[in-house]
Symmetry: C2
Subunit: 333 residues, 2 copies
């Protein structure tokens, strides 16, 4: 029995934070046993909206790799690989661009949203508009059938499958499998300021490498219920970041339910719940921080992990490219 292939990864635009942990890293630890997992350091994709700052993209490759290893990704069970060093991904991307129309790319809801968010206006980099085809290349090159995505990314998997169907129909056989989008039950973690998206550039994230003081300061600054002025007042947990984080990280679900009820009823101060959250985050991040600090003293080891994983991935993706080219009936030397 071969395990199903899962492809996931991160754009290398900065170190990862606890939002990544809750949304994806924790799941990836579990997938190491149940799936054949490939983790893509997506530096090529990071360039689609960071072409002006390649240095940031470069620097972040090691940061993200350190984060992976620090949280417990095991390179003997998960293949960590570097997107820019897998030429088959670029080759398949260029091929797939012929199987999708410009208007279809423009209609993609994820792309429409992201163009708005990034404020590109009319000046959308072509690489950004085209990245769904590149993502289809990533997914299919590994023949991944399981792709964990944020809830806003599901249309990208639909687009991948459209391309898969067009390739298979042109080749007149099932060369590539379709993929299933897996949307994690835990929704997206808000920033500590209550904004929907936690991001390093937004200054509202707790990085995985945060020091004990940084964690405590972040928890202290955390957005709660601005109308919850006195301890005895009823408090609101909707939009309350502390409760969102307790939901995500506190393993004692019954205790969280009780705290939630008490907070809503009145009689529970922010200080108490913040103290609890602080303890939980300190406990979660301490071993990650320690391991990350150790690993960062041994960049040669980290490089070696990336290099070996990329070699495995190169063979895999080249094999798929050859298959696609052959079954489409293109010229082979």
């Amino acid at each position: 029995m071969t395990k199903p292939v899962i492809l996931t990864g991160d754009r290398t635009t900065g170190p990862l934070h606890i939002g990544h942990y809750a949304g994806s890293l924790a799941n990836r630890l579990a997938y190491q046993d149940s799936h054949e997992q490939f983790l893509l350091l997506a530096d090529t994709q990071a360039l689609t909206d960071n072409a002006h700052d390649p240095e940031k993209v470069r620097r972040s490759v090691m940061e993200v790799a350190l984060d992976y290893l620090a949280v417990g990704i095991d390179p003997t069970r998960t293949t960590i690989c570097l997107q820019s060093h897998l030429p088959a991904l670029a080759e398949l991307s260029m091929l797939y661009l012929n199987f999708v129309t410009v208007s279809r790319l423009e209609r993609n809801p994820t792309i429409k949203d992201e163009i708005r968010t990034r404020g590109f206006g009319r000046d959308i980099p072509a690489g950004f508009l085209c990245y769904p085809a590149a993502q289809a290349a990533d997914i299919t090159a590994f023949k991944a059938t399981v792709v964990p995505v944020g809830d806003d990314q599901a249309p990208l998997i639909e687009q991948t499958n459209e391309i898969v169907r067009r390739i298979n129909s042109t080749a007149n056989r099932k060369v590539l499998p379709e993929a299933v989008a897996v949307i994690p039950r835990a929704g997206r973690l808000p920033g500590i300021d209550g904004k929907a998206k936690m991001s390093k550039s937004g200054g509202n994230a707790i990085p995985l490498s945060a020091s004990p003081d940084e964690i405590s300061a972040a928890v202290k600054a955390m957005f709660t219920d601005p109308n919850h002025l006195r301890v005895e007042d009823p408090g609101q947990v909707e939009g309350n970041v502390v409760f969102a984080y307790l939901d995500a990280f506190d393993e004692d679900k019954i205790a969280v339910e009780e705290l939630t009820a008490k907070y809503q009823r009145g009689g529970l101060g922010d200080g108490v719940v913040k103290k609890r959250l602080d303890g939980i985050l300190q406990e979660l991040l301490a071993p990650i921080r320690t391991r990350r600090a150790q690993l960062s003293k041994d960049p040669a080891y980290v490089l070696d992990v990336i290099r070996k994983g990329t070699e495995i991935a190169r063979d895999r993706t080249n094999a798929t490219k050859r298959e696609v080219v052959e079954h489409l009936g293109l010229f082979r030397l």
Copy 2:
């Protein structure tokens, strides 16, 4: 003294015809001595508007290679290489797409024209819209500074140079050279029916492999001056295909001038000029046809030429890609 690098080539969508000979092949024979010449069998680009028929694109690779060798392209002086087997071209294409906006691609006059010609309407394949970035990759990967193009293709070289300037400015050094478009003095040869474009699909081309009878039949069917009904009538040479071809292929320029004057004055029948043209085309194509027939019996040799040229080109284009990646400061394993 190193020779300047010239990049040229053909989309592999069918065997070449005498329009290619007049417009580019004849010049390439001369460039073999003066330039370091790379000839690209552009199968990847052919797919941008032929994704539905990869078999045609595949089959045409050998046809075009046979045409090259048959007209006298010498693989020891010109590197013949296969686009789809040069991964650096796809990698650079994907990179360059981040340095050009969608609206810039849409404003490209060549692309606008071709979208109209091909009747894509709203359903433009993304690969087709993006092919100027792919062409920039082709040109820069070889560091070509001279690029022969049709008069309608000059805007593509301008777009290439825009990308080159953006790469150089991001890298803060001159990583890539700009290219100069060379537009052959001989204009585009019309089809035998008088239509502006000669093409196999238009059924108005004389392929390089045409038999003596096919040549004669094509010359006989050739569009002249529909109002030139009697030998003694003045005839028109504008739009007259026979005179366009004499201009292109008759080496006795003085004789052509005299014939032109006589035809315009009246007293020269179509039959006479057609007979002269038939003789010239028979003489031009006979050795090409013979050599092509010989070569087509030895596909292993032709394959070997493509394979060796592609290996040379692979080293060259990979080296450029590494340089670009390094100077942009991207991650290198």
